[in-house]
């Protein structure tokens, strides 16, 4: 991250938090008015502001409520505790990483096949697109059941859902990247009568690196979504998805939001890591800074 970005990000985050506070007051007011009415109590504007930011089941929890919840469930709990968000984030992360790794490999392999074989290109590509129009959450439960039926359970089914979601950006990006070398660069290889694998390793593969990392950034974020989705039909026993669901189930908005924020932070850490890896590779490769 360039130093030039820090201040703008902070300003934008501050603005979002400001808007968030305003929205908290606005959205929680109707309920608070009902409470005042039921209790028959007089209230002032400042009462309203303080009370809307401290409800137990707010429509929108205030940022500090979420921050306190996150603090309590991360720093103040042992990481092995089931009430620790670190523990749940770790469960989700392991499925995310497994799915991301499989999705990337699958995506690259498919892309290589598509680039080297016209029949694969023509027949598979449209169905790769169609596959992504299937709502995964709809078939996730069935996938899990079917995988259970063939004896797969635990991490793998969740990871497979991540795989399903994350291979798509990788295929699309890598097909583009592997085809990106210009005609002149391919012709050069032809004049050396280089073999297909030499063309691949010496030209297509290095040329596609920026595309690979760009799509891996998308893929890792989407993998996290997949892992969370996959947690729901596995009984939502643990993981950020389970926290989201349990929060939903009991109307614990503070818990939902803290799980959401942790998920988003996790996503951005993962994306940043992939980006850093990409930066490292391209620097090693001598790409213009």
């Amino acid at each position: 991250m360039g130093g030039g970005k820090t201040i703008p990000i902070l300003v934008v985050v501050a603005a979002i938090i400001g808007i968030w506070y305003a929205a908290t007051v606005w959205l929680n007011t109707p309920w608070q008015l009902g409470v005042y009415e039921r209790e028959g109590r007089d209230w002032t504007a400042s009462d309203l502001i303080v009370d809307t930011m401290a409800q137990e089941r707010p429509v929108l929890p205030s940022p500090h409520q979420v921050a306190v919840e996150i603090w309590q469930t991360t720093a103040e709990k042992k990481v092995t505790s089931k009430r620790s968000l670190v523990y749940h984030a770790w469960i989700t992360l392991s499925a995310t990483l497994a799915g991301f790794a499989m999705g990337t490999v699958l995506g690259v392999v498919l892309a290589v096949a598509i680039v080297h074989n016209r029949a694969t290109d023509r027949s598979v590509m449209p169905w790769v697109i169609a596959s992504q129009t299937i709502p995964i959450l709809a078939i996730a439960p069935m996938i899990i059941v079917v995988l259970n039926a063939v004896g797969l359970s635990g991490l793998l089914p969740k990871a497979l859902i991540s795989t399903y979601l994350s291979f798509f950006p990788v295929v699309v990006g890598m097909v583009k990247g592997l085809r990106a070398p210009e005609a002149i660069q391919l012709d050069l290889m032809r004049t050396y009568s280089a073999s297909t694998s030499q063309v691949f390793w010496k030209l297509r593969w290095p040329h596609s690196m920026p595309y690979l990392f760009a799509s891996m950034k998308v893929a890792v974020a989407i993998s996290l979504v997949g892992a969370i989705v996959g947690e729901l039909p596995t009984g939502a026993v643990a993981g950020l998805g389970a926290r989201l669901l349990a929060g939903s189930y009991y109307g614990q908005t503070v818990q939902i939001w803290s799980a959401l924020i942790v998920a988003a932070l996790l996503a951005s850490v993962l994306v940043t890591l992939v980006g850093a890896a990409g930066g490292y590779v391209s620097r090693r490769m001598g790409v213009r800074p």
Binding site: G4, K5, I7, P8, I9, L10, V11, V12, V13, I16, L27, V59, L60, N117, R118, A119, D121, R122, S123, V124, M125, P126, W127, I129, A130, Q132, T133, I134, P135, I136, L137, A138, I139, P141, M142, V145, V146, A149, A221, L224, V225, I228, V229, L232, G241, L244, L245, S248, T253, I256, A259, L260, A263, A264, L265, A267, S268, V271
Partner: protein, 361 residues
């Protein structure tokens, strides 16, 4: 023939021979299934192709024979055994070989471009049918395509109503509002590098929020009907569009901009005549990504509270009712609608960015 094609032809032949030799199922013999037997003989004959590559039409016939013989014989064979599965594999490889040779022969052009993916899809469907029925997979786990088709035909009014609710209302409106507002915001923040540097990373973060988290909140804020689904779609489509548009607006080359400067062109003139056309490939990239995202978003959002109509509602309730064929009928609608939406955007893209190297032929 290429090495791959020769290999496929050999595999088809060997599997066909095996199909003739191995038992088809416990109580059924070869003679009970004339179609399948014919197919097996045809496959075995394929061994002779090494010498003499027959015309593509022969592969077409073989594929057609597989497509007819395999499903038809399922009425006779209720649970396939080794021989049957050999023939199923032979059918699949025959279809593959056909596709391989269709694409290799450069004639046909547009027609093969359409036929190949269709053929691939049909192959998948036939295999699905053969596997689910051949292995007696319970209907509640995975129904065969024929059952899904029957259910589809019988439920057209319901499917249409769901389609209207989810696609025509939530998806299209959400998509238009999400992409449209992101486009305007992108143009607005384009003039402020400060905002760009701050907003884009935060935007990426927000677009990484799982929809399962947002959907219940939107239901809480915007109610049960389609507006809350449209809101989910807006959230999902906003950031891909924003990020791509901003990146696209930066795409115009240095020299092209300098040219505009030498004309002392105004901001809006530069925007309309240079930067938007140059950004079009990026914008269309986002529009394509969003076309599938929007549909998934709307359907998933319906899992968290809806009136009793909508594709997501139907999927989630019918799973619970064990009507898995209805679920797949609904998924088929989603896949067709999503692919058509994607295809439509891609067509517009081709027309608008015809000048881009990737679209020149």
């Amino acid at each position: 023939m290429t090495r791959l094609q020769a290999g496929l032809a050999a595999a088809v032949g060997l599997l066909g021979l095996l199909g003739l030799v191995l038992p088809l199922s416990a109580e059924t013999g070869l003679l009970d299934t004339p179609f399948l037997t014919t197919f097996a003989v045809l496959c075995a004959a394929s061994l002779f192709r090494f010498r003499n590559p027959l015309p593509v039409s022969v592969d077409g016939c073989l594929t057609l024979a597989a497509g007819l013989a395999l499903p038809m014989s399922l009425t006779v064979i209720d649970r396939g055994s080794a021989g049957f599965w050999c023939l199923a594999a032979a059918g699949w490889l025959a279809a593959w070989l056909f596709v391989e040779r269709l694409t290799a022969s450069r004639r046909g052009g547009r027609w093969t471009a359409l036929a190949v993916p269709v053929l691939f899809g049909v192959t998948l469907l036939v295999l699905w049918e053969v596997v689910t029925r051949g292995l007696n997979v319970p209907q509640v786990l995975l129904p065969p395509p024929s059952a899904i088709g029957a259910r589809f035909a019988a439920s057209i009014p319901i499917l249409w109503a769901d389609f209207q609710q989810t696609f025509l209302k939530a998806v299209l409106i959400g998509y238009a509002l999400g992409c449209g507002s992101a486009f305007l915001v992108a143009i607005a923040i384009d003039r402020s590098p400060f905002l760009q540097r701050g907003l884009l990373p935060v935007g990426n973060l927000i677009s990484a929020l799982p929809i399962i988290g947002i959907a219940p909140i939107m239901v809480m804020w915007f109610g049960f009907d389609w507006p809350s689904k449209a809101a989910v779609v807006i959230v999902m489509t906003f950031f891909p569009m924003l990020v791509n548009t901003v990146a696209g607006l930066a795409e115009a080359g240095r020299m092209e901009r300098d040219l505009m400067r030498t004309y002392a062109a105004g901001y809006w003139q530069t925007l309309v005549k240079l930067r938007l056309p140059a950004a079009a490939p990026f914008i269309f990239n986002a529009l394509k990504i969003n076309s599938t995202l929007a549909l998934i978003g709307a359907i998933v959002a319906e899992f968290f509270g809806t009136p009793i109509v909508g594709m997501g509602f139907r999927i989630s309730t019918e799973v619970g009712r064990m009507n898995v064929d209805m679920v797949w009928a609904e998924i088929a609608v989603a896949a067709v609608a999503g692919s058509a939406f994607f295809g439509a955007v891609a067509l517009v893209e081709r027309a608008v960015t015809f000048w881009h190297p990737s679209n020149r032929t």
